[in-house]
């Protein structure tokens, strides 16, 4: 091919190629017409998904629906509904978001997680509200979400409901600069695990400056604030874009396989205990892990706790934490012989994969 022929090939074009690469930025209502004017089928697909997503961000559900219906069935339709779902959640329409997640095929689980953690902060759903106003408002939000979740595959419904519960409670507490346990303690029964987790995340943030968490007694201190033995905590709020932390990815520990998890921030999950005291300790350990400055030695004493689910949680968080002052190889080699087979499993698996060297929250 010569440069001259190339020149010829491009010279008489009417701009179809340029249009395909840079579709005009028009308001969502006109975007579908603009997409239809593109000359290449595949580029129309991208254009329509973009249009659907922008419609979702503005809460224009009918337009988003129409845009996704024009995308060929399969991966890209699923992607379209996924994009719309997360945008609708981000613009404060969680129930409508779930309706789109239900149509996002194999991306449904991603869609649920992204949507649950895209929900904006709502003044009416903030733990600074009096509990007698906050709790009914949270209950009402969950009624809508639970109804919308009925459209999901049955296997995904419990996870979706739990994820949105956690997302709502996280937004209510975390980063607010306000860790008063009254609202969490007043939570409806079905929301108590999420409420105590959210409260403890904020309490663990406010209680110590970065790098100042005591290795011994940190959990006991958190629980004293929860019980009211120590006063409620107040501090600096976090900007909305900075309300994130470290979370542990799901792990295939044999002992945890049949346990119901509580979804945590961003796809993390913790063990749920039906014993409220045990569940509080688990939630406190997870809240400490959310702080990136908490090292493995904070979790070591808890692998010998009388509560088995506390031991298992501690073993999982220990293996994922930076060593601090611990020699991880020596510590985990000793834990391989632990009398609790689940702790021993975590230690063996950690040594095999050197999990303490992995990026927190990343793939195992």
């Amino acid at each position: 091919m010569t440069p001259l022929l190339a020149l010829l090939a491009m010279a008489c074009g009417d701009g179809a190629l340029e249009r395909a690469m840079e579709p005009p930025q028009v308001p969502p209502a006109q975007a579908l017409d603009a997409c239809a004017e593109l000359d290449f089928d595949q580029m129309q697909v991208l254009c329509r998904i973009e249009a659907a997503s922008r419609a979702g961000a503005q809460g224009l559900t009918e337009l988003a629906d129409r845009a996704c219906s024009m995308v060929p069935e399969g991966t890209w339709t699923h992607e379209c509904h996924f994009r719309v779902g997360e945008e609708l959640a981000g613009s404060g329409h969680p129930a409508q978001a779930l309706e789109h997640c239900a149509r996002s095929g194999r991306f449904a689980r991603f869609c649920i997680t992204h949507s649950a953690w895209s929900m904006p902060l709502e003044p009416a759903l903030d733990a600074r509200q009096p509990p007698d106003q906050l709790i009914p408002a949270l209950d009402a939000a969950m009624v809508e979400i639970q109804a919308a979740a009925q459209g999901l595959d049955a296997t995904l419904q419990p996870e979706a409901i739990d994820s949105f519960r956690m997302g709502l409670w996280f937004n209510a507490y975390y980063g607010t600069g306000h860790a008063h346990p009254a609202a969490a303690r007043a939570a409806s029964r079905s929301q108590q695990p999420q409420a105590r987790s959210a409260y403890l995340l904020e309490a663990a943030r406010l209680l110590w400056s970065p790098g100042e968490v005591p290795a011994q007694g940190a959990v006991a201190q958190l629980l004293s604030h929860w019980s009211g033995e120590l006063p409620a905590l107040e501090g600096q709020p976090l900007p909305a874009g900075e309300r994130h932390g470290r979370y542990s990815v799901p792990m295939p520990a044999p002992c945890e396989r049949d346990l119901q998890p509580v979804p945590l921030y961003g796809g993390g999950r913790r063990i749920l205990s039906t014993d409220a005291d045990e569940d509080l300790i688990i939630a406190a350990l997870e809240a400490l892990f959310f702080r990136t400055d908490v090292t493995a030695q904070h979790f070591l004493p808890w692998v010998d706790d009388p509560h088995e689910k506390v031991r298992w949680t501690a073993a999982r968080l220990l293996r994922l934490s930076e060593p601090g002052e611990l020699d991880m190889a020596v510590t985990l080699t000793a834990l391989r012989d632990h009398t609790d087979s689940c702790v021993a499993w975590h230690a063996s698996d950690a040594l095999a994969h050197r999990t303490w060297e992995r990026k927190p929250g990343g793939a195992r």
Binding site: L4, L5, L8, D14, F107, T155
Partner: protein
């Protein structure tokens, strides 16, 4: 005074006269832009879809970077699992931006998951 498109076509005609007989690429001589781009895409896609490694060679034979990138983007949409690898080779800024719709969404490149296990 001829307009910009007419002037470009005039130049192109001159180029055609000079270049006549120098290429065997059947797409190059197509005057209609959309048909020409489709021709280039189909020639590459035919090899790509049957796993013939010569698709890259065919792609390199497409004369302009913008047209090569259009082919790449269209392939990435046809086969999103290969999107990141294909998009890594785009040459122009607009194509890089469009590729974000593919590479910025890593689940598109993931193989289908098994359905979740139902809890007892």
């Amino acid at each position: 005074m001829p307009g910009p498109v007419a002037a470009r076509c005039l130049l192109a005609t001159l180029a055609l006269v000079l270049a006549c007989g120098e290429s065997s690429d059947p797409c190059t001589g197509i005057g209609d832009e959309v048909q020409r781009e489709n021709c280039q895409f189909e020639r590459v896609a035919a090899l790509f879809e049957r796993g013939d490694a010569r698709w890259r060679e065919q792609l390199q034979a497409v004369p302009s970077a913008a047209s090569r990138d259009l082919v790449r983007l269209r392939l990435a949409i046809v086969e999103p699992q290969l999107g990141p690898a294909i998009c890594a080779e785009v040459e122009t800024a607009p194509a890089k931006a469009r590729c974000q719709q593919v590479v910025g969404r890593p689940h598109l490149a993931s193989p289908p998951q098994l359905p979740p296990q139902r809890r007892p």
